[in-house]
Symmetry: C2
Subunit: 229 residues, 2 copies
């Protein structure tokens, strides 16, 4: 019979890969674990899902506990369930990623963490559990998603220059982009609003500021437009 009680002996957790962008660097929010297993090691923020909690709820809770933010881009990526991935029993974990603007966020350690910090993605070579693999999977997803959905803007301040936008894409995709082609492509999609406003407090010649026109994008999308960079 399929419903033996033997099966009701597992737990499941949610792990959040929270990406942020700082000038020209892609970062990810990590915690230093306060508990065994892997006590004292850096890990993705995550927690067991409570018996009365839906999965998305748990992911938003973890995000809010660490960053204070609620209304940000958050999406489920993949579920990891190797038999021995957790030393304490069968624990499968559902990975989410979210995109936040680092400047809007003040991070604080919560119950399960001693410390919380933004770490440069390129500096990370090892994490607790299978979190390094999870991070790589989410990074691949981010790289695909930024090409086909205008989610990159979540990582930028509301007003940005085209150079900042290009830096963001270069940093996510880990490659240099041709300035002229990039500008041509992004402007031809007609989803940016030129603000008639210049950068302030910069040493170089101030550049024009833009913002993402969510309303225009929504209308265009309804008519079959596909964002593609």
């Amino acid at each position: 019979m399929p419903f033996q009680n033997d099966f009701f002996k597992s737990a499941f957790s949610v792990d959040n890969i929270i990406f942020g962008f700082d000038r020209d660097t892609l970062k990810v929010l990590l915690i230093k674990r306060a508990y065994e297993p892997f006590s004292g090691e850096w890990a993705l923020p995550g927690d067991l899902v409570r018996p009365d909690e839906d999965l998305d709820q748990a992911a938003f809770r973890i995000l809010e506990e660490l960053t204070g933010v609620k209304d940000v881009y958050l999406d489920q990526v993949h579920t990891f369930g190797e038999v021995n991935r957790h030393p304490r029993g069968r624990v499968i974990t559902i990975a989410y990623y979210s995109l936040v603007n680092i400047k809007n966020v003040s991070i604080r350690a919560s119950s399960f963490a001693d410390k919380v910090a933004w770490k440069e993605l390129r500096s990370i070579s090892k994490l607790a559990f299978d979190h390094y693999e999870i991070m790589q999977t989410c990074l691949r997803r981010l790289r695909r998603d930024v090409k086909f959905q205008p989610i990159g803007f979540e990582l930028l301040p509301e007003k940005f220059t085209l150079t900042e936008l290009q830096r963001l894409y270069e940093s996510v995709l880990e490659k240099d982009l041709d300035k002229r082609n990039f500008r041509k492509k992004i402007l031809s999609m007609n989803v940016l609003k030129s603000l008639d406003e210049l950068q302030q407090n910069v040493a170089h010649r101030p550049a024009m500021l833009y913002s993402f026109d969510a309303e225009k994008y929504k209308l265009a999308k309804e008519q079959g437009f596909i964002f593609e960079l």
Copy 2:
């Protein structure tokens, strides 16, 4: 403390959305449940994941039990975990989808099913549990994936005509495609092999047969080519 035993009281299952294509119709493999809950109702094939089983393993096992096939396209889509989605306790389910060529497959009912059958996608309006919602999510994924990856070919016989290929896309995307544009686009991608061989046993004028050139696609992809229909 995070590791109370209270948390180790859930189970998790894998549900498989197995898509097949029959001439011009997209179908999905359903089972008639042999057990409560939802005994006698149609459902997606699925099973609890065994304590010693990885998630992908479980998905392949279910597929093989029902269809006898192993080496087919199979991918994880999304995990569903609403608190009350299962009447017997907290059971989260990881949805997979796979694409099979109906002609290569002989289906058989297995332990958890009374019956197994290919059902026309459009004819399905209700399924056990939250399986209808799961099916819709997987269908959206299939629709996106066939546009950007050459996975549609998995649903076709090895040799096919361009008309058959177009019917497949029309049936997955649920819209008519312009014949001339479709042919131009697919041929310009250079991933089809023209077989210098004609259809047999057809009433109309036999059309040229093609096959998907996986090797060519692989090489092109390594050089940055993106499949896009």
